[in-house]
Symmetry: none
Subunit: 218 residues, 4 copies
């Protein structure tokens, strides 16, 4: 599941199931990296800055990570695992498809608002060519697609979602809007509550912008 278990066996061997202080170092580096990457972007960040922020020596980072790229890769792997577990939970906690979608969007905005460093790194890397985290992003994209597809299919069965939709596009339609909302929020320096965008966004997703006499309500 995580390719790095194999690449750095000596460093990662104890990383699972071991609660000693070294394990903590791995996490500290990852958090420090997130902060620095978010502040400066991946290429502008230096190992020294990350090491200093994490409170370790430069060389120590190479005990836990193969190289600079690998920090980003592991960061994405970790976040993907964490976040998608919570996304899944959110979806599962809804009863109807519309409620499931609403919960997903809300959790999505909420998690990114809670962890702006992750949000910044995610948004930036997601739109880079030749990305180091290509594989991770494809995995994420697929997981998101599966979540949305599951909701849509349920909705199509119970008649609340239109049947003639191309699901691949629906995913982009939703993910793109949400990401853009997050991006705008980040560039506004977080001056409003991002998760409050849930209902307005849901309204647009479900009803669109067009005007018709009688409509569903959320």
């Amino acid at each position: 599941m995580n390719e790095h278990s194999f690449i750095l066996p000596s460093a990662r061997r104890w990383a699972i199931g071991d609660r000693n202080k070294n394990n903590d170092k791995y996490k500290r580096i990852l958090e420090a990296a997130a902060k620095i990457f978010a502040d400066l972007g991946f290429h502008q960040s230096t190992i020294s800055q990350i090491a200093k922020t994490a409170g370790v020596a430069d060389g120590t980072i190479y005990l836990y990570f193969k190289n600079k790229d690998d920090i980003l890769v592991q960061f994405f792997s970790d976040k993907t695992r964490q976040v998608f577990h919570r996304f899944k939970e959110a979806v599962d906690s809804g009863d109807t498809p519309v409620e499931k979608l609403r919960n997903l969007i809300h959790r999505h905005l909420w998690e990114f608002q809670r962890d702006p460093n992750m949000a910044i790194v995610y948004l930036a890397e997601t739109r880079r060519k030749n990305r180091v985290v290509e594989k991770q992003i494809r995995t994420m994209s697929k997981m998101y697609f599966d979540l949305v597809a599951e909701i849509m299919e349920q909705g199509q069965q119970d008649g609340t979602i239109r049947r003639e939709l191309y699901l691949g596009l629906v995913k982009r339609f939703i993910l793109g809007s949400v990401d853009e909302a997050i991006n705008t929020w980040l560039h506004s320096e977080g001056q409003y509550d991002l998760s409050s965008m849930t209902d307005p966004l849901m309204d647009l997703f479900i009803r669109g912008i067009g005007n018709t006499p009688s409509r569903n309500t959320l």
Copy 2:
């Protein structure tokens, strides 16, 4: 309008209205830069690569651009001017608000499909922190907002667009979806026709994903 006309007067003075072979050096560098930036990202690109691609010496670049950042800035300024002129045209060529929006989306997808380097650079820079082209991107964002707002207001007056929408969010909703569609297309290596996404997207924009008995058609 273009601040760089003043920064490099001796080099740019003849840039308009002169058809000698020097005239195109500026353009060649800009095109080369777009290609390299698109392939590697701004920070991974080197002046040497750009120079070689443009067929000039490294030093020559500094006759036309203040520094590496300035290449990106001028690239954005140029593209913004060009593209938005065409976006405006597209909007103006529509009769109804829905038609205007459809023309805008179509032109948007079309232009980015036609110039994938621009698309890649735009998508990447748009989501970076501490971006060199902050000003250019804010300008672009504002222009896009104005275009969309104009259409929406017209639609609200003639009753085809819902009145209770928050326009700031609608812009993100549309721009985010379109950009994500472009992004997906780019990462698919351009294996399908991007502009054919226009109508499916418009359908989602106007009607949303929700199911209702009677609906508008495009």
Copy 3:
């Protein structure tokens, strides 16, 4: 006292009281720089030449010095401290004002003869406009002035030195002559003993070139 202790704490922390082989790297770079600066002048010298002469990698220099300018600044700070301590000693070891002055001149010539690289760098920088070591040179100038002024005042009190002298000019008169003597010696490729100029110079300082029936002897 030395601002650079603060600028590069990690590199300089162990600089005092530690005798491992790293300790001398700072000194080796400084000596190498003195040699190269002396041979070529500050602006013609390159970091690579200094690094090669010091036997370190180019990048290593930046562990010990902020930038190229900083090498010169630290060089001057170090030399000023060392040399003026010895100048002070020389002055203190004389009993009469004339003896003090003689000891100062002798020590001055002696130290510069002993360290010709320092002499060359000092003479060159002392007469440059926009000098990087402006502050250091003003400090040195002030210290020299204080030494001379102290001697002169004593001499004026005991009647061996004329009372109507403008001390600011006397300092230039002495320092200028001595520096010019050093300069001439340097450009003669050191083919004679510089410190042997002490008594002839003292004779000129005390008695001048004019002829009078009865005079002091040194």
Copy 4:
């Protein structure tokens, strides 16, 4: 006499005895160079800056000067010729040796005060190792020595100057003091009248700093 007559025959051929507008360009470049060299130092100055200041194209400079070094060389040759002619005049206009020396010092200070750019360039180059103008400076030094020697010998014959002096040292004694006075004046930003230093300096030269019952007066 001027080696550059041979190096650049085509450019210099008409430079003597020709009063066309091109001759003027040569002078303008030399003056521009003096200003830029004085402001920034030789190595910090660029051909472009000189060209712009002189109001000519960069390439034009190479029609009049072999290369950047050659500008400095010709500058020194010109100034040496001009200034020493005036120094000689000053010496000749004095009746007694002491008067001659006084006139020389006064003219020296006066000319350098009148042309601070020359002063700055002269002082800087005079104390550089491997100097491009080595030959010019040796010529100047020799001329100055000859002037001083002539005065001294006359003074020794008429009894106003001590006989036991080492003339080589006397020259450095005088030149060094005068140059240091000029240097101090330059670094004070010209806030006082440099040529007023003549008599105080002469007093030090003739009588020294030592105290004796009966003395010459100037």
